[in-house]
Structures are given as structure tokens and as C-alpha cells.
């Protein structure tokens, strides 16, 4: 029993510097708030993701299934040092991203899900989680992989990521790339946006978000 208790006595979350919420303007003129999600919000996030398990287009189902497992594991204290950011527009959840802190120097980029497509929601959220890792958690490297051609273009090409052969990303067999601190600052001006602090009413609106039907579920989506 002692061994089991010892096995279970893990620090599931090291203390982290919080990510200050920010707001930015989408192409539509709408304001998107990006803020850190709490563990208590995970059940609602799981509900948001669940419909995507049946969306094979652009590998949404693969990404949804993995994100579902990661968030559930975080919620149930089975995954260490995970964190999640959400994007909220007009009180509606439009996307989420998650990362996992491995140690003080290394972060693993996990997943990006955009409920709204064609509005750069995913690109802004991906940039925000790297901003979180480099500027607030202070890591020097983020290990990244891509699970779709679209993801490859959006993440690997746009950020000029460096290949990291021989290093296995925890998402499986795909190749690994790394975003270094140096590369992050090189691309920051073109990739990372948002104003702080978020006006009070906008921030409040982001705290109680509604779920929407993901665009990928609609046949005639963009």
C-alpha cells in the first residue's frame, strides 16, 4: 500500500505563472478573448469537443479524441502539468489549445482545435500557447508536431520550426520540430497579437461561454 500511495503522490501541477488574458480583433471585426481555462471548466470543454469525434475531415476526429483524453486526464489528475487556453467570441467558445510543461526548460505542444474555421482562430490560439510557454513559463524550447497537412502549413511552415530528428514527440510517430526561444522572438511580431488588459465586460463574458456547433460539422462550411 505504501508503494501505491507513493506512486500516486505526484505533484500534478507545479506552480505556474498565470497567463494574463488578452483580446484581439478577428477578420470579422469580432473580439476574441484568449484566457487560461481552469480545471473546473474541463467538463464543459469535453462537451464542446465530443461532437468532433465524428468529424473525419482534416483529421478533426483524431485531434478531438486525443484532446479529449488529455483534458480528461488533466481533470482526473492523470496527466501532469497540462494547461489549456480557450478562445471566446461574443460569449461563445470558438477554440481551445493545450500544452504540457515537461520541465522548466521544455514544453510539449499538444493540440489546437478551432470550432470556427477560416477566421484565424486556430493560428491566434496556437501563437498564444507558445507565448504562454516562452514568456510566462520561461521554457527555452517547445516540442511540436503536426497531425494534418493544414496543421503543418499553419504551424511548422509559418513559425519556421526546426526539425528535431531522433526526438519522439509524445503524440506518436509523426516527425518532431522545435520552437526555440530565439525562433519565437524572431516570429513574434508576425504571429503573436492581442491587447492587455481585457476590458472588464469582455472578460466577464468570456467566463461563461456557450458551446457552438463546430463549423467542420456543417456540410456547407467554408
Amino acid at each position: 500500500m505504501t508503494e501505491v500511495a507513493d506512486f500516486l503522490s505526484v505533484d500534478w501541477d507545479v506552480p505556474r505563472k498565470p497567463y494574463p488574458a488578452k483580446a484581439l480583433t478577428l477578420a470579422t471585426g469580432e473580439k476574441m478573448v484568449i484566457r487560461e481555462a481552469s480545471r473546473e471548466e474541463v467538463p464543459q470543454l469535453l462537451m464542446a469537443i465530443r461532437p468532433l469525434l465524428d468529424a473525419p475531415g482534416e483529421f478533426y476526429d483524431v485531434v478531438a479524441a486525443r484532446t479529449y483524453a488529455e483534458l480528461l486526464g488533466w481533470h482526473r489528475y492523470r496527466v501532469r502539468n497540462e494547461y489549456c487556453l480557450v478562445g471566446v467570441v461574443d460569449g461563445k467558445l470558438v477554440g481551445l489549445v493545450n500544452n504540457r510543461l515537461v520541465d522548466k526548460d521544455l514544453c510539449v505542444s499538444l493540440h489546437t482545435i478551432a470550432m470556427r474555421k477560416g477566421r484565424s482562430v486556430g493560428a491566434h490560439l496556437f501563437a498564444a500557447k507558445q507565448e504562454h510557454a516562452i514568456e510566462y513559463l520561461g521554457v527555452s524550447e517547445i516540442l511540436v508536431t503536426a497531425e494534418s497537412p493544414r496543421g503543418f502549413n499553419l504551424l511548422v511552415v509559418n513559425w519556421g520550426l526546426e526539425p528535431r530528428p531522433g526526438v519522439q514527440h509524445e503524440l506518436g510517430g509523426a516527425k518532431s520540430w522545435v520552437l526555440t526561444k530565439e525562433n519565437y522572438y524572431k516570429h513574434k511580431d508576425e504571429q503573436v497579437f492581442g491587447k492587455r488588459p481585457v476590458p472588464g465586460d469582455l472578460y466577464e463574458q468570456s467566463l461563461n461561454f456557450e458551446l457552438i456547433e463546430p463549423d467542420i460539422m456543417r456540410l456547407e462550411s467554408d
Partner: protein
């Protein structure tokens, strides 16, 4: 010129990402709507012309016109596919016109369509790039966005065009698209979001400098269709037929660099002049226009070379709101290629559908009031094969 020719029916499929239907399904969707609109029976159709640029390459189906004739049960009507790059749709309408005007056929169904969204963007871009000069352009990596980018740069240097003007054209066309139930993109965009705010850099990423994503059309699935017949027969089917009053068709050098001035779209000038001459009309008589804005720079350049604005001034007209739906000269009330979308073979037909609705007063929220004459331009290659139309309301 033979008999007078009229459009008695038109219809469209919803444009967009149409995973629910294959190409034939889209062609049938548009065709049945136009046949229904015309009120013709199957036995009335003498020929079926299908415009498609890439059906063989992207959907692995050739001889598509034979298949459509069979699907629509209009056998033994003649059937043929017409491929003329991005101007395939207008070429098909033009050939239908010629067939009816000459008396070869009495009534022709013209349907254009393309199924493109299932293919990766780079493959679609590469296939469309095969319309460029094979040894002088294509092998060096030239694509249509790159040519449009260079034209935009020339306009910036020569005429003081700014990216802001391209954004204004895009915003106008997105606003019009919001009023078109058939349009691909039903999305409002703002100057703040695509141009003014710092985050516009990411919202509106570069495609071919200085062109950014919102200054280019999307890749789209869709089909559009019209029924064409002789003017004397038209009254039997339709209370408000629209007359095809003028057609102009012209070519230019395949390689853009061989042109005397690459900022001048000579085939646009010539095709437009021919269409106006045939229609005994002129640009100032036109009430509503559909242009081929695969890239927003083209809406500006085409509107100038077609004779609606002095060269190098269209961007000022856009700034003054002249080309808005409620302006003096509305351009692309459908949303244009930018928002309605650009299923390549369908586009030229969709332009005629939109203008027919406008001239009949059937364009709903985007109706240009009192429209009596309309102009369409379908732009093939990078301006090396251009077809223009002048349509008139038949009273």
C-alpha cells in the same frame, strides 16, 4: 448576326464546400433549377453544353456533358463539354448563343460546374497554373496568385494603389455575398480585422506579396446553369426573358511578359468593345456589372480596361463608394468570385445567372433598382482569353 437570342431560365447550386454531392450532383442541382425556371420540357432541349475546366483532373470524370444529358433525361440532345480555362463558362454561353442565333439549335441548356474543395490547395493551384505559358512561366513556378501579385505591385507603383483599396473591394464583395443565398462565403469582414489592426497580419496572411488571403477568391464547389433560346420562342416560356445583346471575345499573348504593357489588359479592352459594339451600347449605359475578381486587383483593372473608369482610377471610385450595391455603378452584386466563390467552370455561367436575376428584378436583397442593361466579364488565363457580355432586359 442571325436570330436574336434570349435567356429564359437560370439556376445555381449553393456554392461552397459541398461534400454532400459529387460534380454530377452539383450539375444536376443547377440544371434542374434552370430548366424549372425556364418552364421547358425535356424534349425542348436540343443541346447540352457543359463548362468545366478540371473535371477530368479533379473528379476523374471526362465526357461530362454526355453524362449530364443522360442524368437529366434529355436524350437524344446533342452534348459537349467546353473547356476554356477559367473562361469556360462564358465560352459555353457564347457557343450556345451562336448555335441558337445560327438556327442550328432552338434551345440549349448551358451548365458550368467544378468540384474542387476535396483536393489539397497546392494541387488546385498547380492545376490552374497549367493555363500559364508552359516554358516561359509554368516551369519557373509562376502561379495565378503570383501574376496577380505582380500586377498589384505595378498598380501600386504607377497609380498609387494601396492595399487598403484591395481591402475595400473585398469588404464590399463580402457584404454583397451576405445578401446572396448561393454565395460560398457568408461572412462579414472589416477594415479593422483585415487591414488596420496589428493582428490583421495574421488574420489576412500573405499569399503572393502584396496580395493577402482576403484579396484572393476561395476554392469552391458549385454549378450554375442557364437555358438559352431564340427571342421569338422566349416569350412562350417566360414573361421576362433577358436578351443577349452583345458578346465580345478576345485573346492576348499567353506569356504576360510579352505584352506591350503588362498593366494593360488588352483582351479585356477588345472583348468589351466588341460586346458594346454588337449591343449598340456603351459603358455609361450599364446599370450593373459582374467582373472576374479572382484577385481583387482584377476587379479594379478589368473595370478600367472594360471602359467604366479611366485607367488607374478605379480604386478611387471604390473609395468613393461608386461600386457599392447602392452606388452609381454596382460591381459584383453577387459577391463576385471573392465571396460567391470560384468553381472555375461555373463562374462565367454564374455571372450570367446573377445578371439575369438582376435584369428580371429577381435578385432579392441585392437587387440593383431599375437595372436594364448589364455587363459581365469572364477572364481566362491571366488575361489571355476574355469573354464579355452585354445583357438587356427584354420589355
Amino acid at each position: 448576326m442571325g436570330r436574336k437570342v434570349a435567356i429564359i431560365g437560370c439556376g445555381m447550386s449553393k456554392f461552397g464546400r459541398r461534400d454532400d454531392k459529387d460534380l454530377m450532383g452539383l450539375l444536376v442541382e443547377a440544371s434542374t433549377r434552370s430548366l424549372g425556371d425556364a418552364g421547358v420540357g425535356r424534349k425542348d432541349i436540343d443541346a447540352v453544353y457543359v463548362a468545366s475546366m478540371l473535371c477530368g483532373e479533379l473528379t476523374h470524370q471526362t465526357a461530362i456533358a454526355s453524362a449530364l444529358a443522360d442524368e437529366l433525361l434529355v436524350l437524344p440532345a446533342a452534348a459537349e463539354r467546353i473547356e476554356n480555362g477559367p473562361a469556360s463558362g462564358a465560352s459555353a454561353v457564347k457557343n450556345a448563343y451562336a448555335a441558337v442565333a445560327s438556327g442550328l439549335y432552338e434551345t440549349v441548356l448551358v451548365t458550368g460546374g467544378e468540384k474542387m474543395r476535396h483536393a489539397p490547395g497546392p494541387i488546385v493551384t498547380d492545376l490552374i497554373a497549367t493555363i500559364t505559358h508552359p516554358t516561359a512561366e509554368y516551369v519557373h513556378g509562376v502561379t495565378l496568385p503570383s501574376l496577380a501579385g505582380m500586377l498589384t505591385r505595378l498598380y501600386m507603383q504607377r497609380y498609387g494603389l494601396e492595399p487598403r483599396h484591395l481591402a475595400l473591394v473585398a469588404i464590399k464583395n463580402h457584404n454583397n455575398g451576405l445578401k446572396n443565398p448561393y454565395a460560398h462565403l457568408h461572412r462579414k469582414i472589416t477594415l479593422e480585422g483585415i487591414y488596420l489592426e496589428p493582428e490583421a497580419k495574421l488574420n489576412n496572411p500573405p499569399v503572393a506579396d502584396p496580395l493577402r488571403m482576403y484579396y484572393c477568391c476561395p476554392i469552391t464547389d458549385g454549378a450554375a446553369s442557364v437555358v438559352i433560346t431564340s427571342a421569338e420562342k422566349a416569350k412562350k416560356f417566360n414573361d421576362t426573358p433577358v436578351t443577349v445583346a452583345g458578346i465580345g471575345h478576345a485573346t492576348d499573348t499567353l506569356a504576360v511578359h510579352e505584352r506591350e504593357d503588362p498593366a494593360v489588359l488588352k483582351a479585356v479592352q477588345i472583348s468589351s468593345q466588341r460586346a458594346f459594339d454588337m449591343a449598340k451600347s456603351e459603358p455609361k449605359a450599364i446599370d450593373v456589372i459582374e467582373l472576374h475578381d479572382a484577385f481583387e486587383i482584377l476587379e479594379l483593372a478589368e473595370s478600367e480596361d472594360a471602359g467604366f473608369f479611366e485607367k488607374g482610377t478605379a480604386h478611387k471610385a471604390v473609395e468613393e463608394g461608386v461600386t457599392e450595391l447602392d452606388g452609381d455603378l454596382p460591381i459584383n452584386p453577387s459577391g463576385g468570385l471573392k465571396a460567391r466563390g470560384h468553381p472555375v467552370g461555373a463562374t462565367g455561367v454564374a455571372q450570367i445567372v446573377e445578371l439575369t436575376w438582376q435584369l428580371r428584378g429577381d435578385a432579392g436583397e441585392r437587387q440593383v433598382s431599375g437595372a436594364e442593361q448589364a455587363y459581365a466579364l469572364n477572364f481566362g488565363g491571366f488575361g489571355n482569353n476574355v469573354v464579355s457580355f452585354v445583357l438587356k432586359r427584354s420589355d
